[in-house]
């Protein structure tokens, strides 16, 4: 990676390891980098500990989505899903365990996979991407069980409501479909609690799911790409070089500056107690680490 490539790098996805000590990030060149969070957070961290312990080429196209199961790291590239073992990755072995491809109809352009989630109840992987469909794959056998069609444009993000067993998907067509069915506005990313959070343009908004109506709209400039609930706050990132802290009431409490001009992804390390950090990344090669959510502590770099 020369300095020019680094200048034009974007990080699209992140996920923490099940033990919470490692962070995997995927960029637009199809590479995945594994960072040792425990090394970067230790008191005697040097500049080298902010570099990845392992960088490898995972896919041909950008890695838009990464998720972690208890033992595996699943990454999505240009229309394919690869699985890597966390244990192997920490030993710097970069052999994929398996690579599977959902059944796509068109062959002219390979659709990307934008979102993946795991349904732990029936051990299935749900992916949604550029072909406007949601594919469900059984993790044990590896076959694609079913396809959920309905979106008119590509799917940006997926979310799961465990209690009701409902899957929500948001797409470019502006619809949020709850599979068992309903529609909404243009979204980017949602996370569901009791409420539903819809980001995107025009604005980030909080919806109450039972009544299916927006309770508050947040006045944030720019399209929000990812938002999460944390304790009683809503943390959200999108266009603009900051992380916004919002209150469910509708006010924007704080905007914490970050190093990238716009941010694509935000994750919280809830797997580990001692490394409870928030990391954000976007259109640069830096991944900001927030140990205290009010300010940026340091940045990892590709």
């Amino acid at each position: 990676m020369g300095p020019v490539e680094l200048l034009h790098m974007s990080v699209f996805s992140q996920t923490f390891s099940p033990c919470g000590r490692f962070l995997a990030a995927g960029n637009n060149y199809g590479e995945i980098a594994v960072f040792s969070l425990s090394a970067a957070l230790s008191p005697d961290a040097t500049g080298m500990s902010q570099k990845p312990i392992l960088t490898f080429a995972a896919h041909e196209g950008p890695v838009f989505s990464l998720i972690s199961t208890d033992t595996h790291l699943l990454s999505a590239g240009n229309g394919e899903i690869s699985a890597w073992s966390w244990a192997e990755l920490t030993k710097r072995s970069t052999k994929a365990l398996w690579t599977r491809r959902p059944n796509y109809k068109t062959s002219l352009e390979i659709p990307e996979i934008n979102a993946m989630i795991v349904n732990s109840k029936d051990n299935s992987l749900i992916v949604g991407g550029g072909d406007n469909n949601i594919h469900i794959m059984d993790m044990e056998t590896g076959t694609f069980k079913s396809v959920l069609q309905g979106h008119k444009d590509y799917i940006h993000c997926l979310s799961f409501r465990e209690r009701e067993g409902e899957l929500l998907s948001g797409g470019e067509d502006g619809a949020v479909r709850i599979w068992d069915a309903r529609t909404g506005q243009t979204v980017h990313c949602i996370e569901v609690f009791k409420y539903e959070l819809c980001g995107g343009g025009p604005a980030l908004s909080l919806w109450h799911l039972r009544s299916m109506s927006p309770t508050s709209v947040f006045s944030l400039a720019g399209c929000q790409r990812e938002a999460v609930f944390y304790q009683d706050l809503i943390l959200t990132v999108g266009e603009g070089p900051y992380v916004s802290h919002c209150v469910p009431g509708g006010t924007v409490k704080a905007q914490i500056p970050s190093s990238s001009p716009s941010l694509n992804t935000l994750t919280l390390n809830l797997n580990s107690n001692e490394h409870r950090v928030m990391t954000t990344a976007g259109s640069s090669d830096q991944i900001d680490v927030f140990t205290n959510f009010s300010y940026r502590a340091f940045s990892l770099s590709f």
Partner: protein, 705 residues
């Protein structure tokens, strides 16, 4: 002797008695003597006289031998008694009133006197006995002394003789210092008349003599041999001398042959003579230039026939340099300076002039310089002039370009072929502004030169590759360089020559391209047409050059500066691409090592507001489309199309951007300004909904990366 003192005594005796006529007669006549008969005449001696008389001589000493000491002692005692008795009688008589001179008294007095005479004789006798005893003792003593002396003498002589014997025994004759062969060898080797075994076996003296003889003979023989060897050696030396002279005399003959062969060489175009003349001049080159000459000529002969090397400059001055420098001039100037200082008390101009002279002296160039000419295929020539700075021990280079084509087209291309900066950064970060020799820093401090960059224009650029070509290696570890290494030069020669050619060609190509760009035409060659769609609507409106200061002030280039990809040695340009109401400004950073290093574009779009690569992800995607994919855009080797292809791609991307912009976002109504003409499968993809900028040939549609 014994008679004389006796005679004297005799007279005394006679006188003391008052003298009788007999005694007077004895006194008067030495030959005759008579004594009163009272005393026995003992020890008479008969003296021989002419009267033939039997003379008796009274010898008292002889008499003495006959007397007995005991008797004399008794006699003495009795006489003393008698005298005492007589005196007593006299006293009695005198006491009884006898008259003075009476007969009894007188008689006693007479008898007393006679007794006194006897006492005197006894006294004399005693004395004589004493004297005799003493004489005898004395004589004995003397005899003993004599013997004693004799004994001493003898002892001394004995000692002396013993010493002499000792010395004799210790005597080492010289013959023992001569190394002789061992006895056995001697008996084996020596001929019989010398060794004489029958004698020598018994007698060691003879043996030694024989051995010495043998030794002498052997030595004489060997001395003879030595002399004869010396003679032969002299003869051989003389022979060698003669042969040497003969060989030396051949030299002029060979020269004559060489001269005669000159026309032949010209005819056959094998310029040995010219090469030799160059070699002759090359002898006076300073070592780094010599190394460069040798390596460049070798490289030119072996690999690259379009390279030619020549030496220019003043050979006589160079010869003068190799002679010891004349000190008198320096002394004069110093003393002059001193005098002036003393006279006028620190006139500043003098010191300044002195410093100036010192500087000039330090920066002096060697009178000879090398000229290397690289001919390129299109007929342009790159002239490189190499100079050697003697005191600083570095090489510098000046460059000149003779281009085959007319170069006066492009205004923005002014800097491209500027001789000052043409060779900048041939290798990364080799600016040629500072001297690469760390030792020069100390030299500069002495004469007050702050930075070498001030003199670069006049003296040439001291690039590091120039030093390497001359075999000079300066590293921070070892500031001293032992001498130019030709292996260093050889290893750098090929790569440097290739880089120089490449640089010249790249610059000339850029020159041509710039003149076309300034006319708003992006020249795309036939080989690269496949990279772009047939119809490109956006057009290049302006192409201008910028300075570093102007570039730094642009707001949308700060990310490039922060990433450290910009240096003040780079060239900066501003391109403006327009379509309709949209204006795209692109700031271009051109590294001197183009096309090895891709030019960097930074974009800013003015269309319904200002957006830049920082604020708009799609513009950022356009930047990466143009900057990152060098392997696609560089075209056929040597990749001189890179910049123009980048420009064309930028125009294509702007087209796509404007045509795929959805009107829904900004809420405006009415027909679109830019109708969709490009074929795209999808207009948005991925979380940040990027536009399709990648052109696929030959299908002709746009897709995402």
């Amino acid at each position: 002797m014994s008679t004389d003192p006796l005679k004297k005594r005799k007279t005394k005796v006679i006188r003391g008695d008052g003298g009788t006529p007999e005694t007077k007669r004895i006194r008067g006549d030495a030959d005759q003597a008579k004594f009163p008969p009272a005393l026995p005449l003992v020890g008479q001696r008969k003296l021989y006289s002419g009267r033939k008389q039997d003379v008796r001589v009274y010898n008292e000493e002889v008499e003495l031998e006959g007397r007995d000491t005991e008797q004399d002692y008794i006699l003495y005692k009795s006489t003393c008694e008698a005298v005492a008795k007589l005196m007593a009688e006299i006293q009695d008589l005198k006491a009884s009133g006898a008259k003075e001179g009476s007969m009894e008294v007188e008689e006693r007095r007479r008898r007393g006197s006679v007794h006194f005479i006897a006492l005197k004789k006894l006294n004399r006798m005693a004395h004589m006995r004493l004297k005799k005893a003493r004489d005898q003792t004395h004589e004995a003593k003397q005899r003993v002394d004599v013997l004693h002396l004799q004994l001493q003498n003898l002892l001394y002589e004995v000692l002396h003789l013993q010493k002499e014997i000792g010395k004799c025994l210790e005597f080492r004759s010289q013959h023992e210092e001569i190394e002789l062969v061992s006895v056995d060898e001697f008996f084996q080797e020596a001929p019989a008349e010398i060794s004489r075994p029958h004698l020598t076996k018994e007698d060691p003296h003879q043996l030694t003599l024989a051995r010495l003889d043998w030794e002498l003979e052997q030595r004489k023989r060997l001395a003879e041999q030595y002399k004869s060897s010396l003679c032969t050696k002299e003869k051989i030396l003389k022979g060698i001398e003669m042969k040497k002279e003969y060989l030396n005399s051949l030299q002029p003959g060979l020269q004559a042959i060489m001269q005669a062969s000159l026309p032949v060489q010209e005819y056959l175009s094998m310029p040995f003579e010219r090469v030799q003349k160059q070699a002759e001049v090359a002898r006076h080159l300073p070592p780094p230039l010599y190394v460069l000459l040798v390596q460049a000529s070798a490289y030119g002969q072996a690999c690259d026939t379009n390279l030619s090397v020549s030496i220019s400059g003043d050979v006589d001055e160079a010869k003068a340099l190799s002679r010891p420098p004349e000190d008198s001039q320096d002394d004069e100037s110093d003393s002059d300076a001193e005098e002036e200082q003393q006279n006028t008390k620190r006139r500043r101009a003098t010191v300044g002039v002195q410093l100036d002279d010192k500087r000039k002296e330090m920066l002096k160039r060697h009178p000879l310089s090398l000229c290397i000419e690289l001919n390129c295929k299109d007929g342009s020539i790159l002239h490189l002039f190499f100079y050697y700075l003697m005191n600083l021990n570095i090489l510098t280079v000046k460059v000149k370009v003779s281009a085959s084509a007319d170069l006066s087209g492009a205004i923005s291309a002014g800097e491209l072929l500027n001789p000052e900066s043409l060779l900048n950064c041939l290798y990364a970060s080799d600016h040629g502004q500072e001297t690469p020799n760390p030792a020069n820093r100390y030299q500069f401090d002495k004469v007050g030169i702050v930075s070498f960059a001030d003199y670069v224009a006049e003296l040439g650029h001291p690039y590091v590759w120039v030093q390497s070509l001359g075999g000079l290696h300066f590293s921070s570890d070892s500031p001293q360089v032992e001498g130019p290494h030709s292996s260093l030069s050889a290893s750098h020669m090929e790569s440097t020559m290739k880089l120089l050619r490449g640089r010249l060609q790249a610059r000339l190509a850029l020159h041509k391209q710039f003149s076309s760009l300034e006319h708003s035409i992006v020249p795309v060659s036939n080989e690269c047409q496949h990279l772009f769609p047939a119809k490109v609507v956006s057009r290049l409106a302006h192409w201008t050059m910028m300075s570093y200061e102007e570039f730094v002030e642009l707001s949308f280039v700060q990310h490039v500066m922060k990433a450290g990809l910009v240096r003040n040695t780079d060239l900066f340009f501003m391109a403006t691409v327009e379509r309709g109401t949209a204006r795209l400004q692109a700031a271009v950073v051109l590294n001197p090592r183009y096309p090895e290093i891709t030019p960097l574009f930074s974009l800013s779009l003015l269309w319904k507001g200002e957006r830049s690569g920082r604020t708009d992800d799609n513009l950022r995607a356009m930047e990466s489309e143009v900057n990152v994919f060098r392997s696609e855009l560089q075209g056929p080797r040597p990749g001189l199309q890179l910049l123009t292809n980048q420009m064309q791609r930028l125009c294509v991307c702007l087209d796509v951007y404007l045509e795929t912009e959805s009107q829904v976002c900004d809420g405006s109504e009415g027909p679109r300004e830019f109708p969709r003409e490009k074929m795209c499968l999808r207009t948005a993809r991925g979380p940040n909904r990027l536009k399709p900028f990648k052109y696929n040939h030959p299908q002709g549609f746009f897709s995402h990366r």
